[in-house]
């Protein structure tokens, strides 16, 4: 088990180092550069040089690279070009918002997927499963920005029952938890709708497959009630692929997240990434790329660990 975790962690770390290196060099080899995005395209050579010196952009590129790693290992992610604040400080609040948003979305979509997948697996080939299958295929093809826009149109503009923008009502002096929760509803529904499609499909297939196996027949033959077989035997085995898929789909959930956060102006990492990309704020971009890479690796690792707990055989593979 420890050996498996160690080897997984080592290979993933290597991947991240390669990735960050690629990204770093590509950013710094592009013409133009951050000085121009601060001063504008008509900046004089002298003021450009001054800004470059202040931001540490005038030393050779390999030196910048090592300085950056050195700072990284000390927990410093550099300064935002445009806001002039340490990236680490700036990111923390956004990261927290994103974490809240994702935890709620993932819990909700997992529960929904288990429910739908069970129905689909049990009624495999019959109309309830076919109906669910059609919905999965349809919703899978729905672009997140369209779903988000339609939800805003119906619930925020039409019915006026939910807020469409931000994380909290700015008109309230001391917004309560209810205000935060209300602002989460539409973003969470959007992300969950899109995640549930693929998750429930995988789970449904797994349930169907497990139901065909001998142990199910044995359990039924010795008189175990069907719901008990489903919950105690089938689900335990069918959850394994679901956990793996959930771990692997972490980056894709984030993809939906960038779009959803930008539609709802929800101040999370995806939103920040979008704003920084528009204003070419590279230190923030690199930091976010790094964080998402790490989250992806941790997501996969967590999936492996949970699978090890669900099925002890998995940890010996």
């Amino acid at each position: 088990m420890i050996k498996m975790v160690a080897s997984r962690l080592a290979s993933s770390t290597l991947s991240i180092v390669i990735l960050v290196t690629l990204v770093f060099f590509m950013v710094h080899l592009t013409p133009g550069g951050p000085a121009y995005s601060i001063l504008g395209q008509k900046a004089t050579a002298a003021s450009v040089a001054e800004v470059n010196a202040r931001l540490g952009l005038n030393v050779p590129i390999w030196q910048q690279y090592f300085v950056w790693w050195w700072h990284l290992l000390h927990g410093q992610l550099g300064y935002s070009y445009l806001i002039s604040r340490p990236v680490g400080q700036l990111l923390w609040q956004y990261e927290l918002n994103t974490m809240v948003f994702y935890s709620v979305s993932i819990v909700l979509s997992t529960l929904l997927s288990i429910l739908l997948g069970l129905v689909q697996g049990v009624y495999y080939g019959r109309w309830p499963a076919r109906l669910i299958g059609a919905f999965q295929l349809g919703f899978y093809a729905l672009p997140p920005f369209f779903v988000a826009a339609m939800l805003v149109l119906w619930f925020a503009v039409g019915l006026k029952i939910l807020p469409a923008n931000g994380i909290v009502d700015l008109r309230e002096a001391h917004p309560g938890i209810g205000s935060y929760a209300a602002h989460l509803v539409l973003p969470v529904i959007t992300v969950s709708l899109l995640t549930v499609c693929s998750l429930s499909r995988y789970f449904g297939e797994a349930v169907h497959e497990e139901l065909q196996k001998d142990y199910v027949r044995t359990a039924a033959a010795k008189g175990v009630a069907f719901p008990t077989i489903l919950v105690r035997h089938v689900m335990r085995n069918a959850l394994r692929p679901l956990v793996t898929i959930l771990g692997l789909s972490f980056p894709y959930i984030f993809t939906g997240g960038v779009i959803v956060e930008s539609v709802f102006n929800y101040p999370g990492l995806g939103w920040l990434m979008w704003r920084s990309a528009l204003s070419q704020d590279y230190p923030i971009l690199i930091a976010i790329v790094l964080i998402i890479g790490i989250l992806t690796v941790l997501g996969n690792l967590l999936a492996d660990l949970v699978n090890g707990l669900l099925d002890p055989r998995a940890s010996y593979e």
Binding site: L142, F145, A149, V152, P251, G293
Partner: protein, 294 residues
């Protein structure tokens, strides 16, 4: 045919219903493919043919008719500047397809070449290429796209290159694994014994064996490219003004969503949905068809 029927009759006493189920399955597979192909035709029609049937200038401004709901004069309404929304939708379709189709082709070629190089090359090259692939796959492609889109000057060519050079990794892995599985087979070994070069083996044998998988995945890649471009344009880092695209049209509608401009949001959303559904259905239809044959 008759053998199969016999086996079925013996295996399943309720033969008619079993056969019915089979027929229905076959019909629905075929239905998936037909639905996918007709939707694809519809999307291509909107992008490439419809602009000639409805030759209204999409950039003509009618200030007196700004932000009007669909009417006889403007079938899909007008935007906040008073531009004909239907003409914009058709022009946006051309802009979307003219970038995403070539980029899917580019990604396809890069992915196949990368996978073949990794699978047929020396072991060290394979290890190196697969490590690189892992690094690229550790991040969602939209993140990488956003990142590089912020670095370059955005126009049709740069968008094609950007999307093409970022969407190939999953195909590359598939081709590499498939190459690994096929290259030990007898007919490949025999060809190599006869003195054939690796290029010959790849071209004559491997690519032909892989053709169904390649076509199915190529279809999915077209959908991915349309989605990626629409998402980028929606975020303001894709097709740039004054050109419009489906993604940017939806974004314009969302900007003024408090005014309830449903006619600016529904049509571009529905055509992107149709395009993605077309790719998904066609791919699944082909997969079901060829998966059964093998």
């Amino acid at each position: 045919m008759s053998d199969q029927l016999m086996t079925e009759a013996v295996a399943a006493p309720g033969m008619p219903s079993a056969r019915m189920a089979r027929m229905f399955e076959w019909a629905s597979e075929r239905g998936t493919l037909i639905a996918g192909l007709s939707l694809s035709a519809f999307v291509l029609f909107i992008g490439f043919v419809a602009p000639f049937i409805y030759p209204v200038d999409p950039f003509a401004i009618h200030p007196a008719h700004a932000l009007e709901a669909p009417s006889r004069m403007f079938p899909f309404g007008t935007d906040e500047l008073g531009r004909d929304e239907l003409a914009l939708l058709l022009s946006g379709g051309l802009a979307t397809l003219i970038v995403s189709l070539p980029s899917a082709v580019l990604a396809f070629v890069v992915g196949v070449a990368y996978g073949l190089a990794s699978g047929l090359g020396p072991a060290w090259l394979d290890r190196l290429l697969m490590r690189l692939l892992d690094a690229v796959l550790a991040l969602p492609s939209l993140i990488i796209l956003l990142f590089f889109a912020s670095l370059v000057t955005l126009n049709d060519t740069s968008l094609i290159l950007l999307l093409g050079f970022i969407s190939w990794p999953s195909l590359a892995r598939l081709v590499r694994n498939e190459t690994m599985a096929q290259k030990g087979r007898d007919f490949v070994l025999a060809t190599e014994q006869l003195g054939a070069s690796k290029f010959y083996v790849a071209r004559v044998h491997l690519l032909r064996v892989m053709a169904p998988i390649l076509v199915v995945n190529g279809t999915f890649m077209v959908g991915d490219a349309i989605f990626a471009l629409s998402a980028l344009s929606f975020l303001g880092l894709g097709v740039q003004p004054p050109q419009v695209s489906w993604g940017s049209l939806l974004e314009t509608g969302l900007d003024i969503i408090a005014l309830d401009p449903w006619w600016m949001i529904l049509p571009p959303g529905i055509v992107v949905f149709a395009a993605l559904l077309a790719a998904s259905l066609t791919g699944q239809g082909l997969l079901a068809r060829w998966g059964n044959r093998q």
